[in-house]
Structures are given as structure tokens and as C-alpha cells.
């Protein structure tokens, strides 16, 4: 009876996962979709706690289980509630890492379970006790989960600036060797006897741990969203391994669903940047910094600065102003001030629109979320193609901390690492004002020709501060 109800609960959970994911891919139903999936998850969790039977025996250790759930819930809710909008991407990465670690720990526990059950016969080969298929699921869960864990932690560190890009010559070969060591240890463990299996098993974990770090380390910060999405699908597969292990359909369907959807999402994200996944993973943006700098060094030249008063004047008397938001806006938390500027300009009879590049910021859709937070109305946000048509008739383009998404090298310079990425063609407007903190290149690490063009002027400073001053100046105009 209990197990039948449990099966039904898992079925409900699986359906809500599919439904939730479907609804999440449509703006109108997205929020509900998230709640639907959360509901299914709650059902599955409580059904497992109270209805799961292992050979006719109920689960025990309820105190531990509820203590763990409580700690996780409080910590998870607090950190998710407190995190700033700008730090969302790294939060997702962190949570993803937790899921990966969880999957790895399950594999470790399962391994330990087998080890312990046969501890009194240390000379029995492991291979005689466990079938290849069963062993592969345990080990795959451990390896993929661990890689996802360390990879996500590195990605998290890179996004918040704690970890710098790091690559060295022959890194891909080293990575391959480490990966080979992971596989070798797995084979070794399977061939070992029960008595000395824990050494190769620990080695599997160790090498997977290192591989996760090495895998993400050389990939540039700008590509982190893609990497996080990929690691996200890894964790899905690791969770599915757990589902296989316990013959649990909710884990299996949930895990595979995320594995597949995550992989597709990764590819879609790459497409939005007009790059291939291999290019992201192997061509590693950050690693090519030196080479890229060389090819565009010729672009170095004179740039001119504009004073706040002049910028205010130009914008105050314009007919149409396009704002191009980028990561700089997010970092400075300037979305509200930006909306303020929009309102002031509107009062002066100036049309204001926002040109949103699909990958502006650190995550696709980052800017939409940020500006929506500041109550900027939706019809003001123009997607790339629409925006590119509008630039021709714009008097002023104000670029707020965006760089690579407006770099003409993506169109003109085949040698550039971002060549081929669709960009916002801001140079079609009459005047371009660029707000940046300094002349430092953007995340792709390449120079931007745009800044040296005659119609471009630079307005240095923190986006929020500059916008506040601009608001004051324009009011005075």
C-alpha cells in the first residue's frame, strides 16, 4: 500500500518537473512553472521520508534527516533571499555545486555500504560482488558529481572575482591526463579486492576533484554562464545515476530531464554568442588574451572624454536616446538611477529606449531581469535586431558598462576572438557616449575600436555615480 502511494507520488513529481520546465520556457507562465516544480519536489521529498521502504523496513534516523533538511532550508532560503540581483549567476553556480557534491556523497555512501557489508572477507574481488552496470552507475555519480562540484565552485569564484583566469601551455594535455587517471583509478578500483579498494576509490574522487578545477580554470569569465549551464546538466546526469542506483523514477526522470534540457540550453547560449561549445571549452577566451591583444594593438589611439555637463546637454536636447546596459550597470547597482534618468529625459520630451544584447552582463537575460527590477517598462526594452534598426535614427547612444557586445571587431576583424558574434551596431547613431570605469578591456580581454572612433566620447566613472550626476545636470539644462 505504502509503496504504491510512493510510486504515485514519484509519478506526480516527474510530471510536475516536465510541466514546470515547459512553463519555465514561456515568460507568461514561468513563475508558476517554478512553483509547480517546487510543489512536485516537496511531494517527492516527504513521500520518500514517510513512505519509502527498504526490504519492508521503513527509514529511520528521522532526527538526522529533519535536522539536515532544516539546516539546508534555512541556509538556502537566507542566501537566496539575500543575494543581490547582480550576484544571481554565481548563486546558481554555488547551488549547482551543492547538488553535484550531494550526488557524489551518495555514491560514496553507497560504495561504503558495499565495502562494509563484505568487510569480513577482504580477499574477495570487488568485481564478483557488483555487476559492471551497477559499478558504473556508482562511479559515474561520484565522478560527474565531483567534477560538477569543483567546477561550479571555480565558476562561482570567477564570477565574483575571487578566482582569476589561469592557463598554461599544454593545459589541455594535462587535463586529458588527469581525466585518464580518473578512468584508470575506476578500472583499478573495480579490479581490486574488497580489502584494499578504498585507495583507488579515494583516488577516483581526488582526480575528479582536480579535473573539475582544471576544466573550468582556463575558461574566461565571459563564458562562465555557458560553463555553469553545462555543469548544471552534468549534475542532472549525476542525479540520474542516483536514480538508477535506487531504481527511483523521480530521480531518474528529473536528472535526465535536466541533463538533456541543460545541454540544449548550453548550446542555445553558445548560439546567442555565435560560438560553438568546443570553441568555448577549448578555445578558451581568457587564454587567448595575449594573442588577441596583439592583433588589435593597432586600434590603440586617442579617445576623447566628455564632461558631464556636455553629456547632459547632448542628451537633454536629443530626440531619441538609446541606452545600452552592460555588466558595469549591474555591478554599480545603477538600474534604479538609470530608470530615473529615463524619466527625466522623458519629461524633457526625449524618447528613451534600451538596447538589450542577448548576452549583455554575465548571463543571458541578465539585463532584462535587472531593468525589470527597476520597473522599466517592457516595451522600452528592444532586442538586438530591433535595436539595430533604431540606432540609425538615434541621436545619442549611452553605453553603460557594456563593452564586448558593442565591439565592432566582432564584425570587421576576422582575427578577433569574438569575430562573428552579433553585436549592437551603435556606431550608426549620431553620437556615442561610453560610460566605463576605465579604459581597461572588457571580459573578453580585447581592445574596443569603438572607443577610438571620432563620434565616440568617454565618460569615465562608476555607472551609478555618473548617472546620478547626469540626472542632476539634465534637470538643470
Amino acid at each position: 500500500m505504502f509503496s504504491n502511494v510512493l510510486t504515485l507520488c514519484y509519478l506526480v513529481a516527474s510530471v510536475t518537473f516536465i510541466l514546470g520546465l515547459k512553463m519555465l520556457s514561456n515568460p507568461a507562465s514561468a513563475r508558476k512553472g517554478n512553483l509547480v516544480a517546487a510543489f512536485g519536489m516537496t511531494v517527492a521529498i516527504f513521500a520518500t521520508i514517510f513512505l519509502y521502504e527498504d526490504n519492508g523496513e521503513k527509514l529511520h534516523n528521522y532526527v538526522w534527516i529533519f535536522a539536515g533538511l532544516l539546516i539546508g532550508t534555512v541556509a538556502g532560503t537566507l542566501s537566496a533571499k539575500k543575494v543581490k540581483m547582480t550576484a544571481m549567476p554565481e548563486m546558481v553556480s554555488l547551488f549547482n555545486g551543492m547538488g553535484g557534491a550531494c550526488a557524489a556523497l551518495i555514491s560514496a555512501a553507497e560504495f561504503y555500504h558495499i565495502y562494509e557489508a563484505h568487510a569480513e572477507s577482504p580477499n574477495v574481488p570487488f568485481a564478483e560482488l557488483v555487476s559492471v552496470g551497477h559499478y558504473l552507475t556508482i562511479v559515474a555519480g561520484a565522478i560527474i558529481g565531483t567534477i560538477s562540484y569543483t567546477g561550479s565552485i571555480i565558476a562561482w569564484g570567477k564570477l565574483n572575482g575571487r578566482v582569476k583566469d589561469f592557463s598554461f601551455k599544454g593545459q589541455h594535455i594535462v587535463n586529458m591526463i588527469v581525466l585518464a587517471l580518473v578512468i584508470a583509478s575506476s578500472v583499478w578500483a573495480y579490479k581490486s579486492t574488497i580489502g584494499d579498494i578504498y585507495i583507488p576509490f579515494l583516488l577516483i574522487g581526488f582526480f575528479a576533484f582536480i579535473y573539475g578545477i582544471l576544466f573550468v580554470m582556463p575558461i574566461g569569465g565571459a563564458d562562465m554562464p555557458v560553463v555553469i549551464s553545462l555543469l548544471n546538466s552534468f549534475t542532472g546526469v549525476a542525479a540520474a545515476c542516483g536514480g538508477f542506483l535506487y531504481d527511483n523514477k523521480a530521480m531518474l526522470t528529473g536528472g535526465i530531464l535536466v541533463g538533456a534540457a541543460g545541454t540544449l540550453l548550453t548550446i542555445l547560449m553558445c548560439k546567442a554568442m555565435n560560438r560553438s561549445l568546443t570553441n568555448v571549452l577549448i578555445g578558451s577566451f581568457g587564454g587567448n588574451k595575449a594573442a588577441a591583444g596583439g592583433t588589435t594593438a593597432g586600434a590603440q589611439g586617442h579617445y576623447k572624454e566628455i564632461s558631464l555637463a556636455d553629456a547632459a546637454m547632448v542628451m537633454g536636447y536629443a530626440n531619441k536616446v538609446m541606452i545600452v546596459p552592460g555588466y558595469g550597470l549591474a555591478v554599480a547597482q545603477a538600474q534604479h538611477t538609470c530608470h530615473e534618468l529615463e524619466k527625466i529625459l522623458n519629461e524633457k520630451g526625449v524618447d528613451v529606449f534600451y538596447a538589450i544584447h542577448p548576452v549583455a552582463g554575465r548571463m543571458p537575460g541578465h539585463m532584462n531581469v535587472l531593468l525589470a527590477e527597476a520597473d522599466v517598462s517592457y516595451d522600452k526594452l528592444l532586442e538586438m535586431e530591433q535595436a539595430n534598426d533604431e540606432f540609425k535614427t538615434s541621436d545619442v547612444v549611452l553605453i553603460l558598462g557594456a563593452n564586448d557586445v558593442v565591439n565592432p571587431a566582432a564584425k570587421n576583424d576576422p582575427a578577433s576572438p569574438i569575430y562573428g558574434m552579433p553585436i549592437l551596431e551603435v556606431e550608426q547613431a549620431k553620437t556615442v557616449i561610453v560610460n566605463k570605469r576605465s579604459m581597461k578591456p572588457g571580459y573578453a580581454g580585447i581592445e574596443n575600436d569603438l572607443f577610438f572612433q571620432p563620434k565616440t566620447s568617454m565618460l569615465f566613472g562608476d555607472a551609478k555615480k555618473v548617472l546620478q550626476d547626469l540626472c542632476a545636470e539634465i534637470k538643470a539644462v
Partner: protein, 102 residues
């Protein structure tokens, strides 16, 4: 070879589920607009937190005096819960901002 064939036929139900789920996963999000990439990733992230079920099973099966198993399970439950709860809450916060569409 014999082994592999045997394994496939022993687990055919699971293999069917895996293959069908791959297609479902791809179909379901095939037409997502780029605006929703981040929330969708975050939502999917929360869904793979379903791994928590495995953690609960590990925890609940562990003998009460087996401290290593208990600690492994306990950590797994905490981490899994973080993934689930944090994942859904973060996604909800992101999507909250899409609500005021006028």
C-alpha cells in the same frame, strides 16, 4: 558482450525512460526566448536537486551506530536541500521581476 546484452535487457525499462526523457527535455525547452535563459537554467538547477531523495534514502538506511555513513548521509541531505530550496527561491526571485509586465 553477453554481459552487456544481458544488462540491457535487465534494465530495458530504465533505458527507455532515459531515452524518452532526453527527447522530452530537448522538446520542452526548444523554443525558449533568450530572456529566459538564466531563470530556466536556475529552475533546471533546482529540479536536479531531486538528488536529495537519494540522500534521504542513504541517511534513512544507515545503521544508527555507523557514524561514517551517518555523516556522509547528513552532509548529502544538507547539500541536497540547499540545492533544492536555494534553487527554487532564487528562480522565484528572478521571475518575480517578470511579473509586472504591462
Amino acid at each position: 558482450m553477453e554481459n552487456i546484452l544481458q544488462w540491457i535487457s535487465d534494465n530495458q525499462q530504465v533505458i527507455y525512460i532515459v531515452i524518452l526523457m532526453i527527447f522530452v527535455g530537448i522538446e520542452v525547452i526548444g523554443r525558449v526566448p533568450s530572456v529566459l535563459h538564466t531563470p530556466l537554467m536556475s529552475g533546471a538547477n533546482a529540479i536536479h536537486g531531486v538528488v536529495i531523495i537519494g540522500a534521504i534514502i542513504v541517511m534513512g538506511k544507515a545503521a544508527t551506530d555507523n557514524y561514517l555513513a551517518l555523516i556522509l548521509g547528513f552532509l548529502a541531505v544538507i547539500l541536497g536541500t540547499l540545492n533544492v530550496v536555494g534553487g527554487f527561491v532564487v528562480t522565484d526571485r528572478m521571475l518575480e521581476m517578470f511579473k509586472k509586465k504591462k
